[in-house]
């Protein structure tokens, strides 16, 4: 993600980060408020086009989709069989017949489209915004202690992930991934995780001392400040807000977009 964010030169990379963050907030609200599958599909395709405009790899996106799809299916799979509607397919389990209904399937698809629309834009934001800009936005949006933890852990993530994957590789290279019983495997990985925590604490203590010795006063200085969005940025966000207002009005007050 950092590689694409730091090295990309697309139109989305050049867009003001505040504009992208505002669009993400609006898309989250739209995904929550919209209940029409076709409109949600339009939202998803628009977001996908935004992602593609950032010249970001689709293959990587498909890989990232694993998590949200897993979570949505985990919840929805238990509801699609019991949602009232016309049965589409049925199977018999232990003498009891259960059926997937059309309403159940629609529920699963709607939840998936909602989740994927937000995830796609979220990834587009993080993969097209440089760390220095992200740090500035985080320090402006979050309370200072939370912003500090966020910014410190953003950097620590890379080191920690590298360290843990090195240890896991070392274990695998010594046949550590061979089946040796649940207890032994659990103990082996507990050792890896325990060591990671101990190293993390030791590193945190060193970093804290280094920060204090350099006069850390509780706030990270922002080297690179963000400018305000351009006129086009304001226009884009205004149009998105207008669409959100229409969608909200249509859902909660009076249906304005049901004609189609």
């Amino acid at each position: 993600m950092t590689f694409f964010a730091e090295d990309g030169k697309s139109v989305v990379h050049r867009m003001n980060p505040w504009t992208k963050a505002a669009l993400l907030a609006i898309v989250i609200l739209m995904a929550i408020i919209m209940d029409d599958l076709i409109l949600l599909a339009v939202l998803y395709l628009s977001v996908l086009a935004f992602y593609a405009a950032g010249r970001l790899p689709i293959r990587l996106l498909v890989g990232w989709y694993t998590l949200p799809v897993f979570f949505v299916v985990t919840i929805a799979i238990l509801l699609i069989f019991t949602e009232p509607g016309d049965p589409l397919a049925s199977i018999e389990i232990l003498g009891k017949r259960i059926a997937i209904t059309d309403a159940g399937l629609m529920l699963l698809v709607t939840l998936l489209v909602r989740a994927l629309a937000v995830v796609t834009l979220s990834l587009a934001l993080f993969m097209t915004t440089r760390y220095s800009h992200m740090a500035y936005m985080v320090s402006r949006i979050l309370p200072r202690p939370l912003a500090n933890i966020f910014l410190l852990s953003y950097r620590f993530n890379f080191e920690t992930s590298d360290e843990i994957s090195d240890v896991v590789d070392a274990v695998h290279s010594r046949n550590g991934n061979m089946v040796r019983g649940a207890a032994k495997q659990t103990r082996l990985f507990a050792g890896i995780f325990g060591l990671s925590f101990v190293h993390a604490f030791e590193r945190a203590e060193r970093i804290a001392k280094a920060m204090e010795s350099r006069g850390f006063s509780g706030e990270f200085p922002n080297v690179e400040k963000l400018t305000k969005p351009s006129h086009y940025g304001y226009l884009l966000v205004s149009l998105a807000i207008l669409a959100l207002v229409i969608i909200t009005y249509s859902r909660y007050v009076s249906d304005l977009i049901g004609w189609w």
Partner: protein, 233 residues
């Protein structure tokens, strides 16, 4: 997974707002208990490291029972306490939301579940160690197992009260349907409890000072009980 993470769009906007406000209140209490904006640098760094390790570990699959992912939130509670742990899980959920491991709008609901884990993990471990004089493995195992079982039901209650958007099923029916999910989470939670037990034993053996917050003035564990710790990688 030992946790349920909800994606954006699962709840209606009213419930998103309600759970977010509750989570904000819990985080505000945690910040107040830590001294507001005057959190010591060491605590900030330790919380950030816990976020990084927690986030990294969640990406690793333990090859047990077909593959299990863990988050170690009760362990974070045991190591850094409920207040700092609450801030850490909030930031973990923010990072998670960035890559689709839970939704942005669901950070509130997901954080409530995780804060329950951190809180129960810390206090049950502390009680077992200080009042019952239980071993580190047993204390950590029990604290994690109880914390994850309770949190699985908290998640279930949150989903049942809010209702899944688009579903016509009532709260009771949703609760009954999702009981299987809670059972699966509890089963996975037991694996995490065993892992946490081993990790705490391991940490207690080589850096027992890291457990001082949860153990207070507890004397160091004897060599006999420390034998539960297995292979050191």
């Amino acid at each position: 997974m030992a946790h349920v993470h909800l994606e954006d769009g699962a709840f209606t906007i009213e419930w998103v707002v309600i759970w977010t406000l509750i989570a904000v209140a819990l985080i505000a209490i945690a910040l107040y208990r830590l001294g507001g904006y005057a959190i010591p640098t060491r605590k900030l760094a330790v919380a950030a490291m816990c976020v990084a390790v927690g986030f990294a570990i969640f990406q690793i699959e333990i090859p047990v029972f077909g593959g299990v992912h863990i988050n170690l939130t009760p362990l974070i509670g045991i190591l850094v306490g409920p207040s700092l742990g609450s801030l850490a899980v909030l930031v973990i959920n923010m990072f998670g939301a960035a890559i689709g491991h839970g939704g942005w709008g669901m950070i509130g609901a997901n954080s409530i579940v995780n804060i329950v884990e951190v809180f129960l993990g810390f206090f049950i471990y502390r009680h077992l160690r200080c009042s019952w004089n239980a071993s580190r493995f047993f204390s950590a195992f029990s604290a994690t197992a109880v914390a994850l079982t309770v949190s699985a039901f908290v998640a279930l209650v949150i989903i049942s009260i809010s209702g899944i958007q688009g579903s016509t099923q009532g709260g009771e029916q949703t609760f009954a349907n999702l009981l299987i999910m809670a059972a699966a989470n509890i089963a996975t939670g037991l694996v995490e409890a065993v892992v946490t037990g081993y990790i705490v034993s391991f940490i207690g053996k080589i850096r027992s000072d890291l457990l001082e917050m949860a153990e207070g003035e507890k004397r160091p564990e004897t060599a006999e009980t420390s034998q539960e710790v297995g292979t050191v990688v």
